[in-house]
C-alpha cells in the first residue's frame, strides 16, 4: 500500500471488478485466521494490492458456536491502491449461525452470503440466539444467499484419507478457501506447497487438506448454479516494480529493529513480557540470534524495561515492547532512562483501554501516555507507524534517535497494524544511511564529564569495562557536566531545561502533505493506522472536486518544525482519531489552531464513509 502508485483520478473502490472486500467468519476453532492469511498470500501473488483486518475474540477457545467466539478475517484487494481493509464486505463467508449473525449487518446490500448450511442445526441456531433459521425464513432477502453444505462436502472430499470426524471437519476451511480461490481466479499451487510444508510430518493430513481445497475449487468450477456464484477476475494493481512479500506490523517492527541496531552497529537486547497484541514482536526476534539479538522474557513488564536499560548501560541497544497496561507499568523506568540519558526503544502496540480494556481490538488512545505519561518533566521522542510497511521505517528511525540523542524513544503502533498484512516492497538496505555509535573510550581533552554534551546535547555513552572513565549514574538529579548528585535549585532548573532542549532539538523531517495542496479549505490530520481510511476518503472527496488535503504525522514528539505554519494555512482542520481527541489536544496546545476532533472508539478501525461524512460536515 505504501508503495502503490497513488492515482487520484482512480474510481472509488466500490465496483466489484476493481476492488473486492471478502470477510471470512466462523468459530474460533474453524481456522478463519489461517484461511484469511492464505487467501491474502494468494491475492498478493496475483498482483493485487490489498489490506487485511483480522478480528478475533480475546478468549483463546471460546465455547463452540457462541456469538462471542466468532473469529473473522477481512481482506480488501483490488486493481488500484488499497489502503484499508474495506468498509462493508462484498462477500461474507459464514461458517455457522453465530458468524452470520455477528457479521451480516456489515455486508453491503446486494452482497453475497456463502453459508455452511450443515452447521445451521437447532443447537447452533440456539447458541446464536436465532429463533428461526435465517437461511430459510427470508430474513436475508436484501442479500444474495448461497447455501452450501460445506461440512458434508468436506467430509466427502476427505473420506479416502480415513480421518476421524473431528479431524475431517477441520479441513472445512480449506474447502472454503478452494471455493474463494476459484471465485477470484487465484492460483492454488502456492497454497498446496504451503500445506505440504506445514504438514510435512503427516503427509496424509496434508493430502486431506489439499483434497478439500481442490474439492472446494472444483465445486466452484463445475457446479451448475445460476445466480450469485460467479467468477471474478480482479486485475493486478499498478504498483511500483520490485520484489514484494506480505508483511505484518509485528514482523515489520522486528525486522526494523534488527536493521536499526545493525545501522547503529550495536548488538540488540530485547526485554519483553507476554501481552496481547505485542507478544508477536518478542516471538519474531527470539528466532534471530544470528543477528546479534538477545531476547529475554522477563518476570514482569517492569523487569522487561529495566533489563533493557541495563543492557543499554552495558553498550547494547536496549528495546522493550508492550501494550497500554504494560506501558503504564514501565513508566517509572522510562523516567530513569530519561534521567540517566541512556538509549532505549519502547514499542507500544496500542489496544482498547483503559485497564485491560479490549485486548484484541484496536485503538489509538495511548498518545497522551506516550507524550505526557510520566512523573516530572520527562520529555521523550514519540514516533507513530501508519501501516505494517511504515513500521519498518519507524523502527529504524526510533533506533537512530535513541542512539544519536541518548534518549528513550517510544514507537506507537496498534493492534490493527501489528496483525494486519500488506504487500511490502522489500527495501534495499544499502540505501539506508548507517548511524554507527561511537562509545567514549578515553578521557577527552578537558577531562571526562559523564554529563558533558555534544552539539546535539547528547551525553557520552561509556560502557562499564572501560578503564579510566569510572563514574556513577542514577535517578537522583544530576549535576550539570559532572553527573554528581545535586539538589541545588539552579542546577535542577538547568538540567530540566537541558533535557527539554535536547528533545525539542531532535531533528525530524518537515511535515509533508500526503494528498492535496499546501493550504486550502480543509486539512484532515491523522496519525498511525487511520492512514488508510483518511487517505481513501480524501482521495474520493478530491475526485468529487472538494478542496481537502490529507496530512499524516509520523513524528508525534517533537512535532515537525513546519507543522504549525502548515496547519494555519488551512481554513479548517479536523483530526480523526480512534480515541476521544488526543492528537487534537496536542495540536491545539502547540499551535493554537482550532483543530476539531472526529472520534471513534468502538475497537474497530474507521470506515472510509465515516471520514467522508466528517469531511462533508467540515466543508459545510
Amino acid at each position: 500500500m505504501a508503495t502503490a502508485v497513488a492515482d487520484e483520478a482512480a474510481a472509488p473502490e466500490s465496483s466489484l471488478s476493481d476492488a473486492v472486500v471478502v470477510r471470512f467468519a466462523g468459530d474460533s476453532g474453524d481456522g478463519m485466521q489461517l484461511t484469511g492469511g492464505q487467501f491474502t498470500l494468494s491475492t498478493a501473488l496475483a498482483g493485487n494490492d490489498l489490506a487485511t483486518f483480522p478480528d478475533f475474540p480475546a478468549e483463546i477457545r471460546a465455547p463452540q458456536g457462541t456469538l462471542f467466539g466468532v473469529s473473522a478475517f477481512q481482506i480488501n484487494f483490488g486493481s488500484s491502491e488499497i489502503t484499508t481493509a474495506g468498509d462493508a464486505p462484498d462477500v461474507l463467508v459464514a461458517m455457522n449461525p453465530a458468524a452470520l449473525k455477528t457479521n451480516v449487518p456489515q455486508l453491503k446490500p446486494g452482497g453475497l452470503i456463502i453459508a455452511d448450511e450443515g452447521e445451521f442445526n437447532d443447537r447452533n441456531l440456539a447458541k446464536a440466539k436465532y429463533d428461526a433459521n435465517p437461511l430459510e425464513d427470508g430474513s436475508l432477502a436484501k442479500w444474495q444467499l448461497l447455501k452450501l453444505n460445506i461440512s458434508q462436502a468436506t467430509m466427502d472430499a476427505v473420506k479416502p484419507f480415513g480421518l476421524g470426524n473431528k479431524e475431517a471437519l477441520r479441513c472445512k476451511n480449506m474447502w472454503t478457501l478452494g471455493l474463494a480461490l476459484w471465485m477470484f481466479d487465484r492460483d492454488r499451487q502456492p497454497l498446496i506447497e504451503w500445506l505440504k510444508a506445514k504438514f510435512a510430518k503427516d503427509p496424509n493430513l496434508a493430502d486431506a487438506n489439499i483434497a478439500a481445497l481442490n474439492a472446494g475449487h472444483a465445486f466452484g468450477e463445475t457446479a451448475e448454479l445460476s445466480g450469485p456464484l460467479k467468477q471474478h477476475h480482479v486485475a493486478p494493481a499498478p504498483v511500483a516494480p520490485g520484489l514484494y512479500r506480505t508483511l505484518t506490523g509485528a514482523e515489520a517492527i522486528a525486522l526494523g529493529l534488527v536493521a536499526g541496531a545493525q545501522l547503529a552497529k550495536l548488538p540488540m537486547f530485547f526485554g519483553g513480557y507476554p501481552i496481547t497484541p505485542a507478544s508477536a514482536i518478542l516471538h519474531h526476534l527470539s528466532r534471530l540470534k544470528e543477528y546479534d539479538v538477545t531476547t529475554f522474557q522477563a518476570e514482569d513488564e517492569i523487569a522487561a524495561i529495566c533489563s533493557a536499560i541495563g543492557a543499554s548501560y552495558g553498550g547494547s541497544l536496549g528495546v522493550t515492547s508492550s501494550s497500554g497496561p504494560g506501558i503504564a507499568l514501565k513508566g517509572e523506568a522510562m523516567g530513569l532512562a530519561i534521567m540517566t540519558e541512556l538509549p532505549l526503544v519502547i514499542v507500544n502496540s496500542q489496544r482498547g483501554g483503559p485497564s485491560t480494556g479490549l485486548p484484541t481490538k484496536t485503538e489509538q488512545s495511548d498518545l497522551y501516555q506516550a507524550v505526557y505519561g510520566r512523573n516530572g518533566d520527562a520529555p521523550m521522542p514519540v514516533i507513530a507507524a501508519r501501516s505494517p510497511g511504515d513500521a519498518f521505517e519507524c523502527a529504524i528511525e526510533a533506533c537512530r534517535i535513541a542512539t544519536q540523542y541518548m534518549t528513550p524513544v517510544m514507537l506507537l503502533t496498534d493492534g490493527y497494524i501489528a496483525n494486519a498484512a500488506e504487500p511490502w516492497k522489500v527495501p534495499d538496505l544499502t540505501a539506508y544511511e548507517a548511524f554507527p555509535v561511537e562509545f567514549l573510550t578515553e578521557v577527552p581533552e578537558g577531562g571526562f564529564k559523564p554529563y558533558g554534551r555534544d552539539e546535539k546535547l547528547a551525553r557520552p555513552w561509556v560502557k562499564p569495562g572501560t578503564p579510566g572513565l569510572l563514574h556513577r549514574i542514577g535517578g537522583i538529579e544530576k549535576e550539570v557536566d559532572t553527573g554528581h548528585l545535586n539538589y541545588q535549585p539552579a542546577n535542577h532548573q538547568a538540567m530540566t531545561d537541558l533535557r527539554k532542549t535536547k528533545i525539542d532539538g531532535v531533528k525530524v523531517p518537515d511535515q509533508i502533505v500526503e494528498l492535496g495542496a499546501e493550504g486550502g479549505r480543509l486539512a484532515v490530520v491523522g496519525w498511525g493506522s487511520t492512514y488508510g481510511p483518511i487517505h481513501q476518503a480524501v482521495r474520493r472527496k478530491r475526485a468529487e472536486g472538494a478542496d481537502v488535503s490529507h496530512i499524516h504525522i509520523r513524528h508525534i514528539w517533537p512535532l515537525p518544525a513546519n507543522l504549525g505554519a502548515l496547519l494555519k494555512s488551512y481554513d479548517r482542520v479536523i483530526v480523526p482519531e480512534m480515541n476521544t481527541g488526543q492528537l487534537k489536544t496536542v495540536l491545539r496546545d502547540q499551535y493554537l489552531v482550532d483543530a476539531k476532533p472526529v472520534n471513534k472508539v468502538s475497537g474497530q478501525p474507521f470506515r472510509i464513509a465515516e471520514i467522508e461524512a466528517a469531511i462533508e460536515e467540515a466543508l459545510g
Binding site: R245, T294, G318, P427, P464
Partner: protein, 345 residues
C-alpha cells in the same frame, strides 16, 4: 561478548573510595559494610573498571556512589532486573547488587526471586535493618511483630519475611549471613564472590536512628560466642566455645542444641557443616534465634551453571552456521516480482 583487556594490577582500600561525601547518618551500620566491601575488593583481585555496583532505592542503595567503580543507582526494587540486562549484554562484568529489606523483599521481592531462580552470576547484598530508614522509620517486611513505627503506632501485625529462607526457597545456590560490624564479613563476601552464580548475602545492619540495636541480642560483642554460630564447611557446628553444638533430632526431623562434654562433639551428635547439603541448609535458615544461636557465615554453597552463560551458549548454538544476512531475511518467505507494467507471476 565484549573483549576485555584487563591489566592485572593490585588495588588497595583507598583505590575503591570515591570523592563523594558519604551521606549516611553518623554511626550507621552502612559505613562498616562499605569498609568491609572496600577491604574485600583488593583481596579478591577485583578490577575497578570491570566492577559494577547496582542498587535500588533506600539508604543502602546510595552505596554505588561511594565505591570507585562503575555504578548504577536505579529505581525501587528493580536492581536485579538492570543487573540481568547488563550481565546478558556483557557477562564479563563483576556485578554486585545492593538492596535492603524494603527494596529487595517488599517492592522488589518479585525480582529478587527471579534473579535467584535464574542464577545470574552476581552478589546480592541485602542490608537488613528491619525498618524503612530513608522514609523515616516505617516498619518493613522483616520487622518483628509488634514493631512500633509511624505507620504502626499500635505495633505491626504482619509476620516478618525471613530473607535467607526466601532466597533458598527461590532456588538459591549460595546463601550466607553476616552483620555490619562483624570482622568475618569480608570472608563471607569473599566466599560469595568466589561462587559462580547468584550469591545471596543477608547482612544485619544497625539503623541507629529508627531501629537502634535491634540486633544487639546476638551481635553484641559481650556473650557473642553463646549467641552466634559461625558455620564453616567441614567443621562441626559448635558454639559457646565448643560447649554446645547443633545436632539432628532424628525423631522430630529438626535441629536441636546439644551440650558437648569434654569436647567430644561426635558423641553429642553434632553435625559437620557441609555447604552443599540443601536439606540441612533449609533447617539452618529456619533456625529461630533464642532457642538457637544465630546461624552466620556461609549456610549453603553448591553452584550450578549461570543464567548468562546458558543464554550465551544457546544464542551461539542457534546462530551457528547461519549468516547474518539481513537483506536475505527481508526477502524470506513467499515473494513475487513486479516488473514495469505489471506483476510477473
Amino acid at each position: 561478548m565484549n573483549e576485555m583487556t584487563t591489566i592485572a594490577r593490585t588495588t588497595t582500600l583507598k583505590d575503591w573510595e570515591t570523592d563523594q561525601e558519604v551521606r549516611w547518618c553518623p554511626g550507621c551500620g552502612d559505613y562498616a559494610i562499605l569498609k568491609a566491601v572496600q577491604r574485600t575488593l583488593p583481596d579478591i583481585g577485583a578490577v575497578p573498571e570491570n566492577t559494577v555496583f547496582i542498587s535500588g532505592i533506600g539508604c543502602s542503595s546510595r552505596f554505588p556512589y561511594y565505591v570507585e567503580s562503575y555504578g548504577f543507582h536505579t529505581i525501587h526494587g528493580r536492581a536485579p532486573a538492570f543487573a540481568t540486562g547488563l550481565k546478558l549484554a556483557n557477562p564479563d562484568l563483576d556485578v554486585w547488587i545492593i538492596t535492603g529489606d524494603g527494596d529487595g523483599l517488599s517492592i522488589g521481592g518479585n525480582h529478587t526471586m527471579h534473579v535467584i531462580r535464574r542464577n545470574l552470576d552476581c552478589q546480592i547484598m541485602l542490608f537488613n535493618n528491619e525498618i524503612y530508614g530513608l522514609t523515616k522509620g516505617q516498619y518493613s517486611p522483616t520487622s518483628r511483630v509488634g514493631t512500633n513505627s509511624p505507620s504502626t503506632p499500635f505495633g505491626s501485625i504482619d509476620r516478618p519475611a525471613q530473607p535467607c529462607a526466601f532466597a533458598l526457597g527461590a532456588g538459591a545456590r549460595f546463601v550466607a549471613r553476616g552483620f555490619d560490624v562483624s570482622k568475618e564479613l569480608p570472608n563471607v563476601l569473599k566466599a560469595a564472590h568466589a561462587h559462580k552464580g547468584a550469591a545471596f548475602i543477608e547482612i544485619f545492619q544497625n539503623c541507629i536512628v529508627y531501629n537502634k540495636d535491634v540486633f544487639e541480642d546476638f551481635a553484641a560483642p559481650k556473650g557473642a560466642e553463646d549467641r552466634q554460630l559461625w558455620l564453616k564447611h567441614g567443621e562441626p557446628m559448635l558454639f559457646a566455645k565448643g560447649a554446645k553444638g547443633i545436632a539432628l533430632d532424628h525423631a522430630a526431623l529438626t535441629l536441636k542444641v546439644v551440650d558437648v562434654v569434654d569436647g567430644d562433639w561426635q558423641a553429642a551428635g553434632v553435625i559437620v557443616h557441609d555447604v552443599t547439603n540443601r536439606s540441612v541448609a533449609h533447617m539452618l535458615v529456619e533456625m529461630r534465634f533464642g532457642e538457637f544461636p544465630m546461624a552466620l557465615g556461609v549456610l549453603y554453597d553448591d553452584p550450578r551453571p549461570t543464567f548468562e552463560a546458558d543464554v550465551w551458549r544457546q544464542n551461539e548454538a542457534a546462530a551457528a552456521g547461519k549468516t547474518a544476512d539481513l537483506q536475505g531475511l527481508l526477502k524470506k518467505g513467499q515473494t513475487w516480482t513486479v516488473k514495469e507494467g505489471g506483476p510477473d507471476l
